[in-house]
């Protein structure tokens, strides 16, 4: 009898502990979603590996609007549009930044594959946009000359 009760009690205790843990640390739930490996990777190839991208098809249907030359790398406004059918997600990367992955957007329920945001650029670099549509990945790049380092 005791042999049977022990694991059950242990299980209930674990359950209770887990529940308490979930209450005091909601950030843990986020940690499961946030692509930690990809965001902390220092090389572009590592980022794409962590995002499980094997083959990228270069596509002019990804439109990247950014200045040819940025005065201040701390604020570079980027507009990204994907004209690829069934675009599900979009990632913005800056090849020469200390951590290249800037942002990753997932669209659902009628959201359009269109984003405007402001990013930091450490130095002159390509901005790369990676789009997932169906099971395929597409990419395009735009080079930006940076006059003043924006990462500090």
């Amino acid at each position: 009898m005791t042999e049977n009760n022990m694991p059950r009690r242990g299980f209930l205790q674990l359950l209770a502990m887990g529940f308490a843990w979930a209450l005091i640390t909601p950030i843990n739930a986020l940690a499961a979603i946030w692509h930690k490996n990809a965001f902390e990777a220092a090389k572009l190839e590592e980022v794409t590996n962590y995002l499980n991208v094997d083959v990228e098809i270069v596509s002019q249907d990804i439109i990247i609007k950014a200045p040819d030359q940025a005065e201040n790398g701390a604020i570079v406004q980027v507009e990204v549009i994907s004209n690829i059918a069934d675009t599900a997600s979009m990632a913005i990367l800056v090849e020469n930044n200390p951590t290249p992955l800037i942002a990753h957007f997932t669209f659902s329920h009628g959201a359009q594959p269109y984003i405007v945001t402001r990013i930091k650029m450490a130095e002159t670099s390509d901005i790369k946009v990676l789009v997932k549509a169906g099971e395929q990945y597409f990419s395009n790049t735009k080079s930006v000359i940076v006059l003043e380092n924006g990462c500090g």
Binding site: A74, A103, F107, G110, Q112, T117, K120, G150
Partner: protein, 115 residues
């Protein structure tokens, strides 16, 4: 109640606008007050300033998720975001919530207006 303590519903740190435009497209603009510290910058005393940045932002239309954004430290200070969606009518509610790496979070809700 720990969850409630971590929630900082300070309406001042978020500005939002959602406008229904021609072609049935609703454009949402969001501006957030946030330091977006990379963790690589030093203060006046040569001490590293710890990383402090928004990691996750979600947007929903009437409780249906439309956008999930994951951010690293490369988004500029006081993050700015525009996104577009279809299927919204004037008076529909758009809710945006962000959470940073220190567990701080804020939510704001606004109604879609005619452009």
């Amino acid at each position: 109640m720990a969850v409630a303590n971590m929630t900082d519903l300070n309406a001042d740190n978020m500005k939002m606008r959602a406008q229904l435009k021609a072609g049935g497209i609703t454009e949402v603009k969001v501006l957030i007050s946030h330091p977006m510290e990379t963790g690589r910058k030093k203060d006046d005393f040569d001490q590293l300033i710890p990383a402090h940045f928004v990691q996750l932002l979600t947007a929903s239309l009437n409780d249906k998720l439309v956008l999930e954004a994951q951010w690293g430290t490369g988004i500029s200070k006081n993050p700015y975001l525009t996104f577009r969606l279809t299927g919204a009518a004037v008076g529909d509610m758009i809710t945006v919530t962000w959470q940073d790496n220190l567990g701080k979070t804020a939510t704001q809700q606004i109604a879609v207006t005619q452009a």
